[in-house]
Amino acid sequence: MNFFELFQYGFVIRGIEAGIIVALIAPLIGIFLVLRRYSLIADTLAHVSLAGVALGFLLNISPILTALGVTVISSLGIEKMRNTKRVYGESALALFLSGSLAIATILLSLGKGFNTNLFNYLFGSIVTVTQTDVYTMLVLAVIVVTTLAFFYKELIYITFDEESAQVAGVPVRWINMILIVLAAFTISLSIPIIGVLLIAALIVIPVVAALQLRRSFTTTILYAEAISLFSVIAGIFVSFYLNLSTGGTIVLIMLAIFILIMAFKRQ
C-alpha cells in the first residue's frame, strides 16, 4: 500500500485530524507547565483521566467526556490543596495519581473493561478515534487556544516572575487555576490518540526540546509546535505501517528529536 492509498481509510484521516489538533495544543500548555516546574502535573492528570475513561466504559458514554469531567474536577482539587499548603505540592500530586489509578482499576474490574479497547486508551491508537471524538477535540481545542490567547501576557508574566506579576495586579491565583483547568482539557482531548500513559510526554518533550535551542518565548513556542506536529504525524504513519502502538511511536520520535538537538548543540 502506498502513502496515498492510506487516505482511503476513514480512520486514518480521523486519526491524522485528531493528531494535528492534539499536536498543536499540547506544547501551548506544556511551555507554561514546564517552565513553572509543573511538568509532573501533566502525568498526574493523565492518570486521573484514566479513572474518567473507566467511568465512561462503565456508563457506556464517551470516555473523552467523562475523562474531561473527572480531570477538570481533580485539577481544581489539586490546585486547592496546593494553595492551602497543608500538604506539599508534589504530595498532592502523588495522592491524586495513586488514588485515581486505584479508582480506575476498581471501575474497570466492575465493568469488565480489561480488553483491547482499554489497551488503546492506555497507549493510544488512531483506530480508537471516532468522528464524534474529532468534533469534541476540535471544540475543546478552540476553547484552550482562545483562553490562552486571552491570558497570554499574564501567563508569561506569572511564569517568569510570579511575585512581580502579583505586584502589577495580575490575579495570580485565578490565572493559575485557569492554566491547570486548560491542562486538564488538553490531557482529556489527547487520550484517544496518544493514550493516557503517554500524554505527559506530548506536553513536556517538544517544549523541553525547543528550550534547548535557546530562543525568545514566541520562537520557542513555534519550535515546540513544529517538533510536536512533525512527531505526531510521522508517528501516526510509522505506527500504521509497522503496526506499532501510536502513542509509543510518537513519543520515541519526539525523544529522538530531543537527543538530536542535544547532540547538535554539543558540537
Binding site: 517552565l35 501576557k153 499574564e154 517568569f160 505586584v167 502589577a168 495586579g169 490575579p171 535557546r214 518565548f217
Partner: protein, 245 residues
C-alpha cells in the same frame, strides 16, 4: 537638586507589626515616603527588610498596623501601575527562561494594559524608551539569561519603568553585582530620582553606598531604630554605635 514634596505621601506605614509562626519579625514600624524622596532601607540579614517591603507591596498582610499607598488604604488601592517593583531577581531567576530582553520589559506594561487586552505599538514604544533609559536597547533581542548580572538588573529596572511608575521599589538590587558596575547602577538610580523625578525606595545592606546616595535612611532591625536624612544619620550616635551591618 532634591525636590521632595513633604505634602504628598507616596507610602505611609503606620505602626506595622508582623509575626510569623509566633515569632515577631517586625515590631511597630512607622515610616512615610514623600514624593521625590530617595529612601534607603538598610539592615542586616534577617532584619526584616524584605518582609517590610512585601507588606508595603501588599504581598503580605501585617499582623497589625495600616498601609496607605498614594493616600489610599492598601486593600482598596488599585492603581498598581504607579508602583514599579524590582525584585531580588538578578541573582535568582531561571537563567534558562526563553525570554528576550524586550519580552521581559514588555511584561512591565501589564499593569497599564490590564486583563484581556493585548500589547500595542504604544507598549512597544514605552518598552523601547525604558530600555534606552537604562542603556540596554541594543541588547533587546538577547536572552535575559545570557546577560551579566549588572545588565540583567538594568533590564529589570527597565521593566519597572515601562509601566510609567511614580515610585520605584528595589529589593537588594546590588547583591551579586561587581563593585564597578555597582557605581554605574547608583548613577542610574540617581538619574531616575533627579531627572525623571521618580520616588525611589531601595532596600539594601549596603549602608556605605546609601549614606552617599540616598536622601533619607531608615535602619531596620526588626524595628525601626533610625529614620531621618542622611546628614542626621551621621550625627545620630545610636546609629553610629550600631552600624548595620
Amino acid at each position: 537638586m532634591p525636590h521632595v514634596n513633604h505634602n504628598e505621601n507616596i507610602i505611609e506605614a503606620d505602626h506595622i507589626s508582623f509575626s510569623y509562626s509566633g515569632h515577631e519579625v517586625l515590631h511597630d514600624i512607622t515610616l512615610t515616603v514623600h514624593r521625590g524622596d530617595y529612601l534607603g532601607i538598610v539592615g542586616g540579614n534577617g532584619a526584616g527588610k524584605t518582609t517590610l517591603i512585601k507588606i508595603l507591596l501588599g504581598l503580605l498582610k501585617p499582623s497589625s498596623g495600616t498601609i496607605k499607598l498614594f493616600g489610599q488604604e492598601i486593600s482598596r488601592f488599585k492603581d498598581w501601575a504607579k508602583i514599579g517593583y524590582v525584585p531580588q531577581k538578578a541573582t535568582n531567576f531561571d537563567v534558562n527562561f526563553p525570554a528576550t530582553v524586550e519580552e521581559v520589559v514588555l511584561m512591565g506594561r501589564y499593569s497599564r494594559r490590564g486583563l484581556f487586552k493585548s500589547m500595542t505599538g504604544e507598549d512597544r514604544h514605552k518598552a523601547k524608551e525604558a530600555l534606552e533609559h537604562v542603556e540596554m536597547w541594543q541588547y533587546r533581542d538577547r536572552l535575559i539569561g545570557d546577560l551579566s548580572g549588572g545588565q540583567q538588573q538594568r533590564v529589570f529596572i527597565a521593566r519597572a519603568l515601562a509601566g510609567n511608575p511614580e515610585v520605584v521599589i528595589l529589593d537588594e538590587p546590588t547583591v551579586g553585582i561587581e563593585q564597578e558596575i555597582k557605581a554605574e547602577f547608583y548613577t542610574l538610580l540617581r538619574k531616575l530620582n533627579r531627572e525623571l523625578r521618580l520616588t525611589v525606595v531601595l532596600i539594601t545592606h549596603d549602608i556605605e553606598s546609601m549614606s552617599k546616595e540616598a536622601m533619607h535612611v531608615a535602619c531596620i532591625d526588626h524595628t525601626l531604630f533610625f529614620h531621618n536624612s542622611v546628614d542626621e544619620y551621621f550625627k545620630d550616635t545610636h546609629a553610629v554605635i550600631h552600624p548595620h551591618p
